[in-house]
Amino acid sequence: MWRVKSKYFFVNLKGLQPKSIQSTIMKAFSVISISIMLVLGIVLYMRFSTMSREETVQSTRKLMEQTGENLEDYLVSMRQISDAAYYNVIKENDLSARDQDIQARMNLLYEANRDNLQSIAIYDSRGSLMAAEPVAAQKEDPDVTEQDWYKQAMEEMENMHFSTPHIQNLFDDGTLRYYWVISLSRVVELTDDGVSQLGVLLVDMDYSAISRMMNQINTANNGQHYYLCDSNGEIIYHPRQVQISDGIGGENSKTAAKYKDGVYDETFEGEQRKVIVNTISYTGWKLVGVIPYDTLAAGTIDIRYFSILIILLMAMMLVVINRVISLRISSPILKLNASVKEYEAGKKPEIYIGGSSEIRHLGHSIQKSYEQIDTLMKKIVLEQNERRKSEFEALQSQINPHFLYNALESIVWMVEGERNDEAAFMITQLAKLFRISLSKGRTVISIKDELQHAQSYMNIQKIRYKNTFSIVFDVDPNLYSYCTVKLILQPLLENAINYGVEGMDGSGEIRVTGREEGGSVILAVSDNGIGMSEEEVSLVLTDSNRIHKRGSGVGLVNVNNRIRILFGKEYGLKVESEPDEGTTVSIHMPAVPYTEENRKRLEEGTAFYRDEMPGREMREKQR
């Protein structure tokens, strides 16, 4: 029950009409091809975007390494200046004695590097200026001992110190400007007036040299940027330096300062980004490259659009191709289907035969079966007509007025001659005859009834023909309980009387015999009359248009047809005749036991179209 329900449900779901073969093929093709294409597209895109990201990171690393090297070169050259100033100028000279010489040497150093250098200055341990290049007026009270670079140098005397960028607060060169510098300071041993003392050598590097280098790589306007910080995370250069100090922007420099060289993923202020760290040797400064994930994605956004466009165009093409293919495949089936539909609609089209061999075969088969159906239909109609006609004729014979008139005239004649017993016998026979003729409207009756009918008929005829012939019934009583078509003996007897024994003046003899032979019942009517030539015999069963000279008009053709319609073509009448010898007409029927069921089956004609007889099966069943 459930299965029935669910099946019904699914039919409802899918719509009451099943989908056409073309749309099914096309949908299947489209789904498969588009899925494959999508998967391929996505995989390729992912692969490509990963490669492009890796390439971005790699190129950034290379750029940073290059810039790192440039920065290192620059810082090394600054250290070299400091070394040169220390070892070639300060250590070799007494600052007070050979002032001019020191100035000249420092000037030489300064001039050689003036592009990157702001100033070189030597301070003693009290913070007094000993020498400076370029020569400029010192500010009134700069108090260098309080400045960071001086304090750092004094705290760790053995090292050179790079400061963070700051404003040089030492000289007044009259330009009304302030210089942004990075100080390289170190403690030096200087000789002043023959006395050795500690001092600080300051090399102020022009910050613009570093910012220029950094600006060169900070050209991208897409969020990707590079910055420089010291080992504490104090920013030395940042493209958005002022924004950061104003609080408009931020930078994760404190964390980056702790990173070792490498590539890191981090989230800063809600932004996911890749951070590449490169340490500048000696200073401990970190060159940091920041690539926000958005930038990485932005690089591939064109590719994304392009891939989507390609996928869409491919899908359009595939849909067209799929349609063409599905049409090619389904077109012969659809044409075949259309011609079958037309046939069903009542037209008589040619069944389509085309396409692949399978569909051609199908077309042929359908065409053949339709032709067969056609033939069968015609045959059925024909046979039905014949059956109706035969039965009508048989019915007509029951009430043959001529026969009735003759019989009644004989009765009248007997009554008038006061042959009351004979008249009574005649009337009784006539009554029996009509009872069996009617048989409650049945067409199939038992052989016993048929024989009874034949006897009644012969009794009446004998009286009418004044016993000019004799009649012998020699039928095996075993046959009584078999089925037969109603009123088949009477026409044979009528023929035997009319064409056989009439006028033989008492020597005529009619024999009705019956026997069972090989599952068939054979009832035969023989006479010893004038007989027929072979030519006539051959016409008796075929020429239905023969004009009956006498009798009821129900010919042998009619009897033969009725038997064949009811029992099958292998049954029917057989006529044997010899001129002047007599004629034997045998009825061949299957031995079908007379039961209500068999009678109905035979009357309905259910076994009618089958070549094999139902009687045979039934009989076997009975046995």
């Binding site: 073309q22 749309s23 009304l176 400007r177 659009y305 349609r323």
Partner: protein, 323 residues
Amino acid sequence: MKNDRKMFILIETILAVLALIVASLMMWDKLRSDQDKISVIVRNSDDTQWSAFKYGLRMAAEDHGVEMFVVSTSATMTAEEEEQMIESEIDNGADAVIVQPVPGEESEEMLEKFRNRIPVMLVECATAETEFSGLPVVEPDNHEMGATLAEELLEDYNGNIKGKTLGILSETTDSPKVLEREHGFRNIAEAEGAEVVWAVAGNFSGETETPIGMLPQVDLVVALDDASLTAAGASVAENDLRGALVYGIGHSTEAVYYLDTGAAECIVVPDEFNIGYQSLTETAESLENFFRGMEDRTVSHTVLRKEELFTKENQEILFTMSQ
């Protein structure tokens, strides 16, 4: 069969429409990469007083991916000249302008007209009646700056400036910026009993210079704008002011230099970097988003004194000025 064809046409149409959308998105992205252009018109634009302002503009332009162009101008400009200049900038493809207006109602009306065509941002009010002006302005609180200057002065004299004579210098008299600063200063200084002996406006540097030294002697000279402050500083350096101490409002390295050398006692510095940054940010954002209007912004100001000139924070102010 008919349904199949309908479905086929429908699918093809949908795919074609999608392809068109994607293609137009690609084109749109390409078109969008054409940067907006914002022109900046300020008087005497090559002067160092605009260094921090221009640096702020440049930074904001980088942050917002717009093209920024500062028009080269002379020290004096009339409303007509300004109009012509804006007109030619629009002809050259400017999508918005940032303007330091010529003081006066005439220029206000002129700018109002331009506003209907492109976004106009001011970095100074054109007239004193700011509430009637619909044009957005990014500027410091001028009244507050004048007041701060007076308070610093009071602090130096321990709150007692009664009987001190004052001279007030400014570039113009009709600029609402200067008027507000003067108002803010006078409110406090005069309340405390100081006497303003003179208030002079003019060009104190260059060829048509008005000699400050010719003015009557006063105890204190208050310069209300950068040009006046550097002129006063220069006068002090040349000992022209006969012992008068200089206080002022300025934002150039020259002004800071005079403070550093002791020619000025105290200066109040408006955050010019942020005037540039915020004005351009507002303008760029209004260009990015059609429905976003521009708003007034007020930037901060800082008091600089010689002793604290080289603290980390103040160095950053100097950094922006030195760009």
